[in-house]
Amino acid sequence: MTAATHDAHHEHHDHGPAKGFMRWVTTTNHKDIGTLYLVTALIMFFVGGAMALIIRLELFEPGMQWVDPLFFNQMTTLHALIMVFGAVMPAFVGLANWMIPMMIGAPDMALPRMNNWSFWILPFAFALLASTLFMEGGAPAAGWTLYPPLVLQGGNHLPFAIFSVHLLGMSSIMGAINIIVTVFNMRAPGMTLMKLPMFVWTWVITAFLLIAVMPVFAGAVTMLLTDKYFGTSFFNAAGGGDPVLYQHLFWFFGHPEVYIMILPSFGVISQIIPTFARKPLFGYSSMVYATASIGLLSFIVWAHHQYTVGMPLAGELYFTYATMLIAVPTGVKVFNWISTMWKGAMTFETPMLFAIAFVVLFTMGGFTGLMMSISPADLQYHDTYFIVAHFHYVLVPGAVFALFAGTYYWLPKWTGHKYDERLGQLHFWLSTISVNVLFFPQHFVGLAGMPRRIPDYAVQFAEFNAMSSAGAFVFGFSQLIFVYVVIKAIKGGEKASSEVWEGAENHGLEWHLPSPPPYHTWTEAPAPELILDKH
C-alpha cells in the first residue's frame, strides 16, 4: 500500500535536478558530477597553463629576466602536478562519469554518493597544494617526481604537498572503483563485455591501473614524510637507506600513470574516428587485447626512467627489451585507426580534426618513445629537452587533444545545442600549429645538449627556445576560444538532434538518447537490438 502511494507520488515529478548552488554540492547524479569534474579540470588546465607560460617567459631568451631560479623550479613542479592530477586525470574522470552510464545503458553510476565524495575531495586537495605557494620557502621545487634527497631540503611545504597527493590518490581510487563496479554490474541486458564501447573498455583497464598503483605512490610519499619528520632513513644513504629506492617506487606508479592519462584518450579516439569515417571500428577485438597488453606491460617497464642511475647490465637489457615491446600493441592501435579511415566516407568536423591530429602527433611521441626505450641511446636523451618534447607530444596533442575531441564530439549531446563549428575549427588550427611550434624545436635543443628543468641556457639554444616560447603563448591564448565555444553552446544555439552526427546511432547507445539526455539516463534498459555487435 505504502509502496503504491509512493510510486504514484513519484510519477508526478520529473526527477529533475534541485535548483541553485546546493544542487552542485549535494548532487549524486553522474552528469552533474561529470560536469563538475570537467569544469574543475578546465580551470586547473588554465592554472597549470599559466605556470607553463611563466616558465616559457623566462626561457624566451638567455639570461635571467623574470623569476628567481627557485621560483622557476616551483613552477615546473606545480605545472606538472597540476596538469597531471588537476587537468588531465579529472577531465577523463569527467568524461567517464558523463558517458559510461549512457554508453552501457545504465541509469547512473553504481556508487553515486561515493561519486560525490570523490569529486569534492579535489578542490580541497588543490587548495592544500596551492597554499604551499604562499608559505615561507615556497612550494615544492624538486620536480613532479619529488625525488629525495632534494625534496627533503625545502621548507614546510612538504606535508601539505604530500597530504594533497594522498587526497588526490583517494579520489582517484574511489573514482576507479566506481567505474569498475558500474561497468561490471550495471550493463544493460545483452551488453556483453566484448560489446562494450572502446571508451568504456579503456576506462575499465585504466581503473585497474589506478587501483594498483596509487597506493604505491601514496606509500612512497609517506616514506618521504617520515624521513623528514620522524627520523627514518628509507631514502637516506647515511642512515642505511637508498635514494634510488624512492625512484623505483615512484616509477612503479609513474609509468602506469602515463598510461592512465593516455588509455582513455585511445578510447575517445576509437569512438570518434568510426563516426566520421562512417565505418565500424576496424579490429575491435584486437583493440581490446592491445589496450589490455599495454596496461599489463606498463607494470614491468618502470626502470626505463632510470637507465642512468646505474643498474646492472642484465637489468638494463631487460628493461630495454620489455619497453620496446610496448611499441607492438601501440602500433596495432594506430594501424587499426588508419584501417578504420581507409575506404570510409570521411568528413572533417572539429572532433574528427582533433582525432586525426591526435593520431599523427601521438604517433610522433610514440616514435621518440621508441627511441628512448633503447638504453644506450637514452643515456644521451635522458633528462634533456628531447624528453620534454617527447612527453609533451604524448600528453598535449595526445591526451589533451583527445579531451578536446571528446568534448566537441559529445558537447551537442550534453547541451542539446550545436557548438560553433567555425570557431571550433579555428581553435583546432591555432592549437595544432602552435603546439608544434611549441614542442617540435625542443627535440633539437635536447639532442644538442640542453638539460631539462634549467631556468637559463647557453646562447646556442636561444633561437629554438624563442620559437618554443612564441608557440606556447599562441597555444595558451588559443584555449580561450575553446572556453568561449563551450559557454556559447551551453547558453544556446542550433538545436542538436538525438543523433547529432550523421549515422552516429550506428556507433553507440548514447546517440539513442535525446539531446540533452534526461536527468536520469536510462530509466528503462535500452532495447537489446540497439546494442551493437562491433563498434
Partner: protein
C-alpha cells in the same frame, strides 16, 4: 622549370647550410667510441621511425584525400581482417629485433669499465663538481666561472651573448689525457646530480652514499662542455662541466703545475692576513660558494636558506660561526673539504663584516686549522 629547380636546390642548401652553421639540430657525433656507436644507433632508430612514419602518414593522407564524403566516397563495411592484423603485429616484432641486436652490442661495450688506465672520482655538490684524481693526488672543485655567474644573476643587465661560453664555462676544468681509458666514479655529497658531456656519449647519476661508474677514452684533444642533468635545486642550471683533453705530454705538465698550485694554497693557510685582505678575498669566495643560496646581498631565501645579513650566527660567537661553515648544519653543507683554511677564514671574516653586519671581527687561517 630548370631554374625553379636550381632555385629550390639553392634555397634548400642555404637553409641546410645555415642550420649546420648556427643551430645544432642533432646529437653530436662525439669524440669517444661509445658516443659514435650511440650516434649510429640513434640515427638507425631515427631512420627506421622515419620510414614507418612515411608509410603510416602516407596511408592516412591517401585516405583523407581520396576517401572523403565530399568526393562521393561510399563507406566500405569491413571491420576486421585477422590475417592483416597478425601481419602487423609480427612485422613490428621483427623490426624491434633488428633494433635490439645493435643496441645490446653497444650496451655491453659501454658497460665494460674494466682495464682502465686511470680513475677519476667525480663528486656532485650543490652546485659545483669536485674532481679527485685517485692516482695523481689532485683534488679540486670546479664552479661556474665568474663572468657567467655575474651575467646570470636576475636583472644583471649583462647580455649573455657577450660572455664567452655563457653558462658552459668553469673556473677550474677537468683535465684528462687523450687516448687513455679513464674510469669515472660518480657520487654526490648532498642531492642527486648527473654528469653529462654530450660529446662523450653517456650520462650517469651521482647519488649520495653510492658510487656509479662509467668510462671515457677521448680521441681528440680539445675542450668539451656539458652540464648537470639531474634537477639538484636552485642552481641546477648553473653547474657546468668542462673537460679539457690534452696530449700525454701536456697533461703531465698540467699535473705538475696543478700540484704546485695546490701546495702554494696550503702554504697560504699558515699566513696571517689583515682584515682588509680577508674581506677582499672573502667577497670572492662568498660569490662563488655562498651567493647561490644566501644570495649576493646576503638576504637569503626565507624558509629555505637563512639570511647572513643580521643573522644570529654571523653576529654571535666566532667559534659557533666557524663550526657552521666548516662542519655544516642541516642542509648547509660542510665546507671543510671544499675550501682551504685561508678561504674559510676569509669568507667567515667577510660575512661578519659585510651586509651591514660590521662586527669588525677577523678570523685567521690558523684558527680554522685548529677547529678542523
Amino acid at each position: 622549370m630548370k631554374k625553379t629547380k636550381q632555385l629550390l636546390a639553392g634555397l634548400a642548401l642555404m637553409i641546410w647550410g645555415e642550420a649546420q652553421a648556427d643551430y645544432a639540430v642533432n646529437m653530436p657525433v662525439g669524440v669517444t667510441e661509445t658516443s659514435r656507436d650511440i650516434h649510429d644507433l640513434h640515427m638507425l632508430i631515427l631512420w627506421i621511425c622515419v620510414a614507418i612514419g612515411v608509410i603510416v602518414y602516407g596511408l592516412m593522407v591517401y585516405s583523407i584525400v581520396h576517401h572523403r564524403k565530399s568526393k562521393g566516397a561510399v563507406p566500405a563495411k569491413f571491420h576486421e581482417n585477422t590475417r592483416l592484423e597478425i601481419v602487423w603485429t609480427l612485422i613490428p616484432f621483427l623490426i624491434l629485433f633488428a633494433m635490439a641486436v645493435p643496441a645490446t652490442q653497444v650496451m655491453i661495450k659501454a658497460y665494460d669499465t674494466g682495464a682502465a688506465d686511470m680513475t677519476i672520482k667525480v663528486t656532485g655538490y650543490q652546485w659545483k663538481w669536485r674532481y679527485t684524481y685517485l692516482d695523481e693526488g689532485i683534488d679540486f672543485f670546479s664552479t661556474l666561472d665568474t663572468k657567467s655567474n655575474e651575467a646570470r644573476q636576475l636583472g644583471s643587465r649583462i647580455d649573455p651573448t657577450t660572455v664567452d661560453n655563457y653558462l658552459l664555462n668553469v673556473d677550474d676544468p677537468l683535465v684528462i689525457p687523450v687516448g687513455k681509458k679513464i674510469r669515472i666514479l660518480l657520487t654526490a655529497a648532498d642531492v642527486l646530480h648527473a654528469w653529462w658531456v654530450p660529446e662523450f656519449g653517456w650520462k650517469k647519476d651521482a647519488i649520495p652514499g653510492f658510487i656509479t661508474d662509467g668510462w671515457i677514452k677521448v680521441e681528440k684533444p680539445g675542450t668539451y662542455r656539458g652540464q648537470c642533468a639531474e634537477l639538484c635545486g636552485r642552481d641546477h642550471g648553473f653547474m657546468p662541466i668542462v673537460v679539457i683533453a690534452k696530449t700525454d705530454e701536456e697533461y703531465k705538465q698540467w699535473v705538475a703545475e696543478h700540484k704546485s698550485k695546490q701546495e702554494s694554497e696550503q702554504a697560504e693557510s699558515g699566513k696571517t692576513f689583515t682584515l682588509d685582505e680577508l674581506v677582499a678575498k672573502g667577497e670572492q669566495v662568498y660569490s662563488t660558494n655562498c651567493a647561490a643560496c644566501h644570495l649576493p646581498n646576503g638576504e637569503g631565501i626565507p624558509g629555505t636558506f637563512p639570511a647572513i645579513k643580521g643573522s644570529p650566527v654571523a653576529l654571535g660567537p666566532i667559534a659557533e660561526h666557524v663550526s657552521v661553515v666548516v662542519k655544516g648544519k642541516k642542509s648547509m653543507p660542510a665546507f671543510e673539504d671544499q675550501l682551504s683554511a685561508a678561504d674559510l677564514a676569509a669568507v667567515i671574516t667577510y660575512q661578519r663584516n659585510a651586509f651591514g653586519n660590521k662586527k669588525g671581527d677577523l678570523v685567521q687561517p690558523s684558527e680554522i686549522q685548529a677547529q678542523k
